[in-house]
Every structure is written in C-alpha cells, then in structure tokens.
Symmetry: C2
Subunit: 252 residues, 2 copies
DNA sequence: ACCTGAACACCGTTCAAGT
DNA sequence: ACCTGAACACCGTTCAAGT
C-alpha cells in the first residue's frame, strides 16, 4: 500500500493540465457528480471523467487510489449536501422522517453513488456528522444508548437499502424500465384464476402498487415501532435511577 | 427486436461445441451459478462463462439476448431453489418469517445475482410461483386483497433490498471488508466526546451492532405490524357482510 | 511535482464465415 | 442450425518518460 495519492500539503504546487485545468479533489468530485446528473450513472468512468476534466485519465490516480475511493468521496459529498439544508425541529419522529425521505431522494438523484455507498462506510467528514446527528436525535428523544444504536442501524440500513433498490431501478434505460412495468400488466395481470387464484384476485392492486416505492410505508412502520418502544421505556422509568450508561451493561 | 435467441423447438438440433459440450439454457445457468460460487461474483463474465463451458463466448448469445437476460434466468433459478425446499405450516407469520430468511440467505449465497435481481421483475416461472405463494399465505390468513398486496410488496422489497445490501457487502474482497470494520473501531470509536458526544457515548454499541445485519430485526418489525393490522381487521369484521372483492372497490 | 502516453489485461456485443 | 473468430468500442490501472 505505497503512497501514490498526493499528500494534501503538496497539492498547492500542482500544475495545470494540457487544457489549462487545475485538478483538485473537489473539482474531480463535482465534475463526477455533474457527469452522473447529465449523462446517467453509466457515464462515470475514469476515462470519461478524465475527458470531462480535460486531463489524462491516469492523472486521477494522484487524487484517488481507485475508482472506489472516488465513489466514496462522491458519496460523502452527497451526505453533506443532504445534511446542509436539513434543520432539526425538536420532534424526533418528524426529524427522522424528514431525514429518511431526504436520504432516499438523494439516492434517487445519484443512483450509482447510492448503490455503491449503500453498503460502505466512508469514515469521512460528512458521514461522521450524519451518524452524530441521527444518534443525537434518538438519544435526546430519550432512547437509551443500546436502543438508540439499534434504531439508528435499522433506520440507516432501511434508507440506504431502499435507496439503492429504487435508484438501481430508476437508473435503468427508459425502454427497459417500461418493459418491467409491462411484465406486471402483460404477464401477471393475465394469469388465469384456476392456476394462479391469488394473483388473479389481486392483479389490479399488484399493477398499481408495484409501480410505487415501498420506502415511505416502510419508514412509517419503523417510526411507529420506535415510538411504541419509547412509550414503553418512558412508562417504565418513573424512577430515573438508571445511570446514563446502565443500558450498556446489558449487551453481551 | 429481431429474434436472435434460439426458439425452444429448434434447440434439439444443436451441435456440440469444439470441446464436445452440448449447450443449453439449463447448462449455462448452472455453470454460471457454479462460477459465482467458486470464484466470487466478479468471476461472471460472458468471456469467462464461455471458457468454463468450453465454448466460444459469442455462442451464448444464441440462448440469451444480453448478459442481463442471463442474470434474470439465474435469479429465477435461485427463486426456484429457495421455494423448492420450503413447506407451509399454516401459521402465516412463521411461514413468512421462514420465507424471508430463506430469501435473504439465498441472496447472500449469490451476491451478484441478488444485487441485479433485487430491482427486476423476471416474469419467469419460479418468480410467478413465489408471488402466488406469498399472496396465498397473506390472503388465507385473512388479509383483504389491497392489504395483502401492500404487505406482499413491503415484505418482498425488504427481503430483496436487505439481501442486496448484505450480499454486496459480503461480496467485497476480504481485505476491503476488514478495512470497513476497522473504520468503526479506528475512526468512530476514537472520536472525542467534546466534538462528537453521541458517537462517543455509544461507540461500544456501534462497533458491535454495525457488524451485524439489520434484516432479522426489520423482518420482525414488519411481521409485528402486520399482525397488528390483522387483529384490527378481524375485530372490526364481526359481520362477514363484505363480499370477497369488496375491498377492491376502495382503491382509487 | 505533476501530468502524459503507451501498454496490459480485461470487458460486452456483432456479424460474416465456417461446419 | 449452430458455433467460431475476428473485430469494434470500450473498461481500470500501472509505470516510465516528459515538462
């Protein structure tokens, strides 16, 4: 793992490329996001990105070890953008709902970054900020530490998993996406009741429902279940004898 | 969309390849699954599959229009394998739990097929069978049609989304996977309490919890909420005046 | 110090030619 | 009828050479 990436201190000394562009991590990430926005998720390759920057593709390896590192930097920038315009209201349930829907929308806007970052930890600035923020909302709502982490995990995985699912679907070529919808109408909605009674009975609902994302409903389910837990916790702890870290001891 | 795929009737006339192998859709799918199992998700390419079959890569295009079609055939075969050993018990909640966990496990065993098929509809034999089966479990439990479809959608998306998430993570090279876990221990667990109080307070829980899948918990949440709905529905319909399709009329 | 250009080892897909 | 081989238009990544 030898250092091939430019150490931050040395970056000031950089030289313009052939076409007069001065490269930087920020410029590369922004250009990559623009490329995804304008030409779809598949437009992002080291070679195309180099072309868009007016630089040789190989010059990017001075800023990112692999394409993977670049994608994580993009993912972190997306988290940053999602968080920057978000304001907490003090109502934990409304705050989490808002955050979840923003994360989901952010994923849909940048499908490829969303799919890659959904199962990755970046350990970068904005991701850390997001973790701190969500945990803060839960702990200040009154969830004990272990419970706050469990709900944080479920909440984040749900947003990322559905975000990746829905954005992978949205990133398909238009023709293919229409072909998918047609499968429900042309194949499922036409199965005879004698061989497939349950599909035949519910075909109308299937065609309508499967065209929508199941994320909003899944999010409400999670928030509802969490509210139930919180009510339980509050009613049980009439005596606030528990020290802040007492719940930690219960973990194996 | 000209027919380049061999019509089923003509397949009997096929000729062995150079190395004496007789190609077929089944053989190709099985070989692809073996390749994924033995050499990881990235080992699957048209060229490698051709090599594994002892045939020219281009010959595969007689059986599948694109790599995509091949992946859908693989996905359907996986659905079939998941269903083949499953037996309903009559307890809808236990049945769905079992099915969900099997789908999740199946995804983990074949990450690449899982990631691709998670957002696709195959419209093939086993997928149709699976839809019919899950809808049957829900309708026979007493859920009205519209509700059964909503729960079916949430259940399937959840299994597929978490399956894709967890299997993408599992498919990472071992070194990368270990580096990910290290981020929680080395970065998050060392943030100072004055700048990141919530992370610092819950670091122990984060390290432990984030290493596990959140799917089992998410599944229980869904089953619990569904059971709640069913209880509501049952208590309200003391008078079974509703005709079988009465719920359909309530949909916009 | 930073960027370039050539090279390496791959991809998916098409199509005329072989058997 | 089915498979092959060559070709096309791409990939990510490395490294010696240029400025």
């Amino acid at each position: 793992m030898s250092e091939r990436v430019v150490p931050p201190a040395a970056r000031r000394r950089r030289r313009p490329t052939k076409h007069g562009v001065v490269l930087s991590e920020e410029l590369i990430v922004d250009t990559a996001l623009r490329l995804i926005e304008e030409h779809g998720a598949d437009a992002l390759s080291v070679r195309r990105l180099g072309r868009a920057l007016g630089a040789d593709p190989s010059s990017l390896y001075r800023y990112f070890r692999h394409t993977d590192d670049l994608m994580l930097a993009i993912a972190d920038e997306l988290i940053g953008r999602t968080l920057r315009t978000w304001r907490p209201t003090g109502d934990w349930r409304a705050d989490l709902r808002d955050l979840g829907l923003r994360m989901h929308a952010g994923a849909l806007a940048h499908p490829r970054a969303a799919v890659l970052s959904s199962y990755r930890v970046t350990g970068r600035e904005y991701e850390i900020q997001a973790v701190e923020t969500v945990l803060g909302v839960l702990r200040e709502a009154g969830f004990p530490d272990a419970e706050a982490v469990r709900i944080y995990h479920a909440f984040v995985d749900q947003a990322l998993a559905h975000g990746a699912l829905d954005s992978a679907s949205a990133a398909m070529p238009k023709a293919a996406r229409e072909a998918e919808a047609a499968v429900w109408r042309a194949t499922y909605a036409r199965l005879p009741a004698d061989t497939h009674p349950h599909i035949a009975a519910t075909a109308r609902h299937l065609v309508a429902d499967m065209a929508r994302s199941s994320y909003p409903a899944a999010l409400e389910l999670l928030l509802g279940a969490s509210a139930g837990r919180l009510a339980e916790i509050r009613s049980r702890s009439g005596h606030p004898t528990a020290t802040p870290d007492s719940s930690a001891k219960a973990v194996p």
